[in-house]
């Protein structure tokens, strides 16, 4: 996070964003990449980075998605996608796997989100629609477990409303748990839990926008990192 706030010329696409996140994952880190877009981060990890991937259904150090005769229905990730096994892998049962998460042993976890609040509250499991069938999976466990919780999402919803908000309106996944938010337009550091009195979000990696443009569209205070 010592890089200065830079201004890209265009919003980051999901692959560019995934690559940016991958660059920030420390070498040798143990990481969990949530279902959906966060999975893309694995494609951009530097070979030899030594990053070890965890999947909550009981495995450390899985490799790329399985293809053709590598496919084994007993070797899947949390998204139920067949994956491969890397040397140095380990299998364990579900209680041990979630103890690992809840106990704070993962260095990084990357999740998608509907909303993140200025104090790091996360909403990513339920839209709050009255007829929706609730389903949470491991989202709440991931949200509160890892040393660093990073969110990967677009900054604005399809209807134009911001997804970084003063307070989440969707049902929460976890309280004050997000450390960093990677979006198409900027990366945000949540500072509320680190003693910054005004709770402003630190912004870097502006891409296709400016700080003042962001300020206009967000209802949370932002400052350049």
């Amino acid at each position: 996070m010592s890089t200065p706030a830079s201004t890209g010329t265009a919003p980051r696409g999901k692959h560019t964003l995934a690559a940016a996140i991958a660059r920030d994952v420390p070498d040798g880190a143990y990481a969990n990449l949530g279902i959906g877009q966060p999975t893309l981060v694995s494609d951009h990890l530097r070979p030899g980075s030594g990053v070890v991937l965890h999947t909550e259904n009981g495995m450390l150090n899985f490799g790329p998605a399985a293809v053709e005769d590598e496919v084994d229905e007993e070797l899947i990730n949390a998204g139920k996608i067949p994956v491969t096994e890397l040397p140095g892998a380990a299998y364990f049962h579900h209680a041990d796997s979630f103890a690992m998460m809840r106990g704070g042993h993962l260095d990084v976890c990357v999740l998608g989100a509907f909303q993140v609040s200025a104090n790091g509250d996360l909403a990513n499991w339920h839209t709050g629609a009255p007829d929706a069938i609730p389903a949470v999976g491991g989202a709440m466990d991931l949200a509160i477990g890892a040393e660093q919780v990073w969110v990967m999402m677009t900054l604005f919803a399809k209807d134009g409303s911001p997804k970084v908000v003063p307070a989440c309106t969707y049902p929460l996944t976890g309280l004050a748990c997000v450390d960093r938010v990677y979006t198409d337009l900027a990366t945000f550091e949540i500072t509320a839990s680190r003693g910054r009195a005004d709770g402003a979000l630190l912004v870097r990696d502006l891409s296709g926008t400016t700080l003042s443009a962001l300020s206009d569209r967000l209802e949370v205070p932002v400052v350049l990192a």
Binding site: E73, H94, D141
Partner: protein
């Protein structure tokens, strides 16, 4: 007591009573005890509470059990899936109860049942709708919700290999909930792909010790 080795799925579930809480292993198809579930459908027990990660896929397995109206309540982490139409329909019709539990709490609550823990303070889900009404306590500056054990009358699990005492080993991510559920139910029934003689498993690598297993089911294994 020592495990019995059976070669009939039907025999292994013959005594499952109406109203039982049944723990069902598996995550996706990995570790799913499909043949035991099919046998339970044939057996006819009703008014069941099913504890499993999901609430059935397509029209087979758990979904078929639900479709047969044998299940009063599902306790799971993720009922809603692209192919969970059986559950979805019953739920929207008000014909089935649902308790959604974060996946790690589901595992830990069964672990607590198996380990004789009365309740535990867990940070997962605090401040969310899933801990509404639960006792919240701050410990060392962090908020926790009090969670209670989930105990099964029966566990249906799938393992890779058993020895004739009931020691089990699993394969890859098919391990998932199996070892936890094996500790948490009064009667534990494991379907396995292979049965070896006692002494045929390395004691260092046994994942579920025989003490937890009541019945091992493997067609063709009984007469060996």
């Amino acid at each position: 007591m020592s495990a019995r080795v059976l070669d009939s799925y039907a025999e292994s579930v013959a005594d499952v009573a109406d109203g039982s809480t049944v723990l069902v292993g598996g995550f996706g198809m990995a570790g799913m005890p499909v043949e035991l579930i099919d046998a339970l459908i044939d057996q006819g027990a009703k008014d069941l509470v099913i504890v499993s990660n999901n609430a059935g896929n397509g029209d087979t397995g758990l979904a078929a059990l639900l479709a047969a109206k044998r299940v009063r309540k599902v306790i799971c982490s993720f009922p809603r899936q692209s192919d969970s139409w059986v559950f979805d329909g019953l739920y929207r019709a008000g014909e089935i109860e649902l308790e959604v539990v974060p996946q790690g709490n589901l595992a830990e609550r069964m672990r607590a049942a198996g380990a004789g823990i009365g309740a535990f303070f867990c940070p997962t889900g605090v401040g969310t709708p899933l801990t509404e009404g639960k006792e919240i306590r701050e410990i060392d500056g962090r908020a926790y919700a009090l969670e209670y054990p989930i105990k099964g009358d029966v566990a249906l699990i799938k393992a890779h290999t058993a020895d004739r005492m009931g020691n089990l080993v699993y394969r890859r991510t098919a391990r998932n909930f199996g070892p936890v559920m094996a500790t948490a139910a009064r009667t534990v029934i494991a379907q396995v792909g292979h049965v070896v003689e006692v002494g045929g498993l390395d004691p260092e690598t046994v994942v579920t010790p025989s003490i937890y297993v009541d019945r091992v089911v493997c067609p063709g294994a009984q007469e060996a």
